[in-house]
Amino acid sequence: MQSRNAGGDDVLLDVLDLETHFYGEDGVVPALGGISFQIRSGETLGVVGESGCGKSVTALSILRLLPKLSAKTVGGEIRFRGRDLLKLSEPEMRLIRGDRIAMIFQEPMTSLNPVHTVGDQIAEAVQIHTKASRSEAMARAQEMLRLVRIADPERRVNNYPYEMSGGMRQRVMIAMALACTPELLIADEPTTALDVTIQAQILRLILELKQRMGTAVMLITHDLGVVAETCQRAVVMYAGRIVEQATVRDLFARPTHPYTQGLMRSAPDPRRGRQRRLPEIPGIVPSLREPIAGCSFAPRCPYAISICHEKTPSLRDVGPDHAAACWRSEEVVGA
């Protein structure tokens, strides 16, 4: 088994064997098959994987924002500063959301309420969690808009979302999320829906504010380049499980899971300039509807041997602060 980093008091969030199921018309889908990871105070953890691998479900499970009728966390623990979030009552959970753990969503175009001004929406977060009066909260909203570098914040607080561009709306989302200086910020693909030119700016902004406020960040992305630039540690997910986790330096130096290696080969490398054709990982992401025997990556894996199709590998330490879920990690890492 993977050694749990007994870091003690600097562990902010400790997720243990988290299992979340979706209930669809055609049965139960195990969207998260028991995942474990930690986030330490002030660090940036990257969560990487293809779409549908369970990254967003992990984020929504932590904040307990899953759609009530169709999804449920059925097992595991989510220890935040030692308290299991899954055991809290709904009112206790509301005190944590937006105040101690905040979240930024992927779609800035649809994630802001169209009928309230952006100032109102930021001020609301402040007023829910502090005893601030409305004018104090609005002043804080203005200050936050300035902090996320929106020009002319005095005027912009009174704007409606439809009067802003996508990049500006995402800045508003960041302002809203950080208004109560949370200890953990979950950013779910915060730049995917934006223009390429804006993406870097937004990312830099998040990192800068994180530094200033001492907030830990869980950055969900499908882009390994982003992870390399911004994160200290990273978790690689595939089909509802964690297949590899390591420090970013180690992950890029010694990718130990065949899936991680595949991801790296298919990512464009800016140092090498334009490449003619990126190698793809053959095959498709498996449907989680049918139970998978063995390693879920085996059907697409160039290293797969018979055991891979029979037994599911669990995360094993392959180095200091580096674990992978692969039967053949020794051979893979050497390849």
């Binding site: 924002l65 009728l69 509301r94 005190l95 994630s111 169209p114 009928v115 977060a125 829910i128 409606y160």
Partner: protein, 313 residues
């Protein structure tokens, strides 16, 4: 914006002209002599001849229409056969009970309907939702007079909690005024509540699935704030629309409710006019009610900008 308001006004006026043409043709094209209908069954021939002169019945139809429309626009809705008094004056005299009943019903039905619809959407699929759906189907189907007599039987005859019927003007005291209006309001409001609740539920279901509702939850907003601060305003346009369209239902209901509860309002005036074959009164009420309906829907259309800032015409 101004252009939109003008356009909307023009279309409201077009609709009113259509209504006018229709009401006008109703009398002219019906079998029998329009002058005789307006003069009443036992009118002397001289009177009928006078009215024929006044209506210009010898002239071609378009000229008759212009004459007729002119007199309507100048507030002359004709004279009641039965009482011999101007129709407009009769209607104005009966206005207080009708307005009391209608305004109370709109307030009561909107509040209850929106609350029920919101609750049903929030607990979609649960027992409350099913119970409210069943209630809506029932409230939609039971005629106003059946509801009225059931309520009278239960709350005024079996238990003497509320007055059986009648109306007390506001100046006789707010409490008695209100007590006399409770049963009529509930009677008239049930169908309207069902209508508003159905639309609210459907509209809220759509809004609750939006991304910004998840954002609100991630801020730590309470369920109450999520529903009423974040969702309801977004779901507002269809709800407001149905409240406006349902006003036609309300007008028909008022006539029956006033009869059931013996309230001396415009509805009773209309029913008395049926019994007395007093056509000028019926025509006057028809024009005024349709005009009110068109105006209310004009106001509803223009008020969309107040609830949704994105709507800029």
């Amino acid at each position: 914006m101004v252009a939109y308001i003008i356009r909307r006004f023009v279309s409201a006026i077009t609709v009113m002209v259509m209504v006018g043409v229709f009401i006008f043709l109703l009398l002219r094209l019906s079998p029998g002599d329009p002058a005789a209908v307006i003069a009443g069954d036992s009118a002397p021939p001289e009177l009928i001849a006078g009215i024929r002169q006044q209506l210009g019945l010898g002239d071609p139809l378009p000229i008759q229409f212009v004459l007729w429309a002119k007199s309507i626009l100048s507030g002359n809705f004709g004279t009641s056969i039965f009482t011999g008094r101007p129709v407009l004056q009769l209607v104005l005299q009966r206005l207080e009970p009708t307005i009391s009943l209608s305004v109370l019903t709109i307030i009561f039905s909107s509040a209850t309907g929106i609350a029920f619809g919101t609750l049903a959407a929030w607990r979609a699929g649960a027992l409350v939702d099913r119970a409210l759906s069943a209630f809506a189907a029932l409230a939609f189907s039971v005629p106003v007079f059946v509801v009225g007599y059931l309520l009278i039987y239960c709350f005024a005859i079996s238990k003497h909690w509320l007055p059986v019927q009648g109306y007390e003007p506001v100046e006789h005291g707010l409490a008695t005024w209100f007590a006399h209006l409770i049963l009529p309001t509930v009677t008239l409001g049930l169908g309207y509540i069902a209508l508003i609740a159905r639309i609210t539920r459907a509209s809220m279901l759509e809004v609750l699935a939006e991304d910004y509702m998840r954002t609100a939850a991630a801020k730590g907003a309470s369920s109450f704030s999520m529903l009423f601060h974040h969702a309801l305003k977004n779901a507002g346009v269809p709800i407001l629309t149905v409240i406006g369209l349902g006003f036609a239902y309300l007008i028909s209901g008022v006539v029956i409710t006033e009869t059931v509860f013996n309230i001396p309002g415009v509805g009773r005036l209309t029913v008395d006019a049926i019994n007395n074959r007093d056509y000028p009164v019926i025509q006057g009420v028809l024009i005024l009610a349709s005009g009110l309906y068109v105006m209310i829907n004009l106001v509803v259309d223009l008020s969309y900008t107040l609830i949704d800032p994105r709507i800029r015409y």
